[in-house]
């Protein structure tokens, strides 16, 4: 069977979870991989939460909708409650630690705790929290080339926001640093 990464990205509407997913999907396309992006559009989005499923695969993608995930990027408490159990054993979970109060209890997955909102506020742009999360995820799982991610940003962001691309890049790098620090610490334990 070919390699495939099934990723859930979840949070509140407005946190940029859908555009984070689109950035991954666009980068996958640039990297000549098969990819699909599927937003929540059903009853689950009516409560203010938003999520999308992104699949990055070496071969054809069957269903764009899956219920178990290799990776989770989670930005709010309700999504943490919903998706912690949906991560496959051996998978990864990157969560936003400034607002999520209950840390995951799973021991069979790799967990990264990223205070992305606090970090974004330090950069004076709270909108880039999603990119910090994305950077952290890509440090943990480098499934796509960083230059593809940066090219993808140009496709995903509307032209009127293109002046924010350098800041988004900086946020992605900050996310990678935060993840790298944590991964080094956990390796020494």
């Amino acid at each position: 069977m070919y390699k495939s990464d099934e990723i859930i990205i979840a949070g509140f509407g407005g946190q940029g979870v859908l555009s984070m997913g689109q950035t991954l999907a666009y980068a996958a396309m640039i990297d000549k991989k098969e990819t699909s992006w599927m937003p929540s559009y059903g009853p689950e989005m009516r409560g203010g939460t938003a999520n999308c499923i992104v699949i990055v695969s070496e071969g054809p993608i069957s269903s764009p909708i899956v219920t178990k995930f290799d990776s989770g990027i989670v930005l709010n408490q309700p999504s943490m409650e919903k998706f912690e159990e949906a991560i496959k054993p051996g998978g990864v979970l990157v969560y936003e630690a400034s607002t999520i109060i209950t840390a995951p209890t799973r021991t069979d997955i790799t967990v990264l705790k990223i205070p992305a909102i606090d970090e974004a506020n330090k950069m004076n742009k709270k909108q880039v929290a999603n990119m910090i999360m994305l950077g952290a995820f890509l440090e943990l799982k480098p499934i796509l080339a960083m230059e593809s991610i940066l090219s993808a940003l140009k496709k995903v962001l509307p032209e009127r926001h293109h002046h924010t691309i350098p800041l988004n890049e900086k946020a992605i790098l900050r996310g990678r640093e935060l993840a790298a620090e944590q991964l080094t610490v956990s390796n020494t334990i």
Partner: protein, 365 residues
């Protein structure tokens, strides 16, 4: 307003609904009439933004009933026209579709199927197979039904749909589902303006002095005349059934088990086939790309060698009736389905296939 130049061939990451709408503009659509409904509202939304900058006309009708009758009128005037909706809205259009089929007018109708019956759910479903392929409205008529299974086919089938509609002078339906409409995938879009267009001789665009008036109607009060019309329609459907069947096969050459599925289900079954082969079960997939005409001849051929068929749908079992008719008792036909907007997993279909395999092996011993 200055119009944008024609778009070249492009590769993009797009939602199914948007790719379909973009393809319609590129295919030279003259007019779109529709009414919003989840999960296909992006079609109207996209066209409302793009059409005024490009070419054609887009109008939000006051209802689906109005939209389909606008299609009737605009097609009668010789326009290349499209409407789209989702299940309950498509039900509202059935009277108009029957009229259009009878009046023999080309048009493209898109159904982004959601779960029913009733208002149901906005999640993906294939519950409208019967309605799509067996008429839907009243009287003896058929729609050519194209069943995309990817965002790429959402775009490609718009071009094919217009070609078929104009070739056979009748309505063509693209039967998608909520997931295909909402998901983003890579799509290779054809160049704009690549599909030729002529004003048909039967169009009602004002009479020139050198010919008789063109009359478009679906009212033929004399039964003898009505029967003639019926016979002409049936002769047309027979030609379509002979010439326009399309399907895709995956590992069917040596397959003991033929799985039949269309649209989103077929993508899932493709994975089941891979999983089954890893376990030593020789499975293959037949994916109809046209639901009418149906690949009955190919299924009958496969039935000569297959141990059994497994039909998979996101409904209570609709296409399975056509599979059984085609298999015609030569071998057993099983069914696996999920309803109400639930998408089956490749693994649960594999479990069903393994049960069938055990049963068949036990029977043979």
């Amino acid at each position: 307003m200055t119009k944008e130049p024609l778009k070249p061939r492009e590769v993009k990451l797009m939602k199914g609904n948007e790719a379909l709408a973009e393809a319609a503009i590129r295919a030279g659509m003259d007019a779109y009439f529709g009414y919003p409904i989840t999960p296909q509202s992006e079609v109207l939304e996209y066209l409302t933004i793009e059409v005024p900058k490009r070419s054609g006309l887009v109008l939000q009708a006051e209802s689906e009933v109005a939209a389909i009758n606008m299609i009737y009128g605009a097609s009668g005037a010789g326009g290349r026209v499209m409407t789209s909706s989702s299940s309950p809205g498509i039900s509202l259009m059935q009277e108009g579709l029957s009229y259009i089929a009878s009046a023999e007018l080309p048009c493209l109708v898109v159904n982004v199927n959601r779960g029913g019956p009733g208002l149901g759910t906005i999640q993906p479903s294939q519950g409208d197979y019967f309605q799509s392929t067996k008429g839907g409205g009243h009287g003896d008529y058929r729609l050519i039904v194209l069943a995309p299974a990817s965002v790429q086919e959402m775009a490609d089938f718009v071009f094919d749909g217009f070609v078929l509609a104009e070739k056979y002078r009748g309505p063509v339906l693209i039967l998608a589902d909520g997931a295909l409409g909402q998901m983003m995938e890579k799509v290779d879009l054809k160049a704009e303006g690549s599909l030729p267009k002529t004003v048909p001789s039967w169009a009602t665009r004002g009479r020139s002095k050198d010919r008789d008036p063109n009359i478009i109607t679906s009212l033929f009060i004399q039964p003898e005349k009505m029967e003639q019309i019926n016979m002409r329609l049936q002769a047309k459907y027979k030609i379509i059934a002979e010439k326009e069947v399309r399907y895709e096969e995956y590992h069917t050459d040596d397959a003991d088990y033929i799985l039949v599925a269309y649209g989103l289900s077929a993508r899932i079954v493709r994975k089941t086939v891979d999983l089954a082969r890893e376990k030593g079960i020789k499975a293959g997939l037949l994916r109809p790309q046209t639901l009418f005409p149906f690949p009955s001849v190919r299924i009958a051929e496969l039935a000569k060698h297959a141990k059994a068929f497994l039909d998979v749908e996101m409904n209570a079992g609709q296409m399975v009736e056509d599979v059984r008719l085609a298999v015609n008792g030569k071998t057993e036909v099983f069914f696996k389905g999920r309803m109400g907007g639930i998408i089956p997993s490749p693994e649960e279909i594999l479990e069903e296939l393994e049960r069938i395999d055990e049963k068949i092996v036990a029977y043979q011993e």
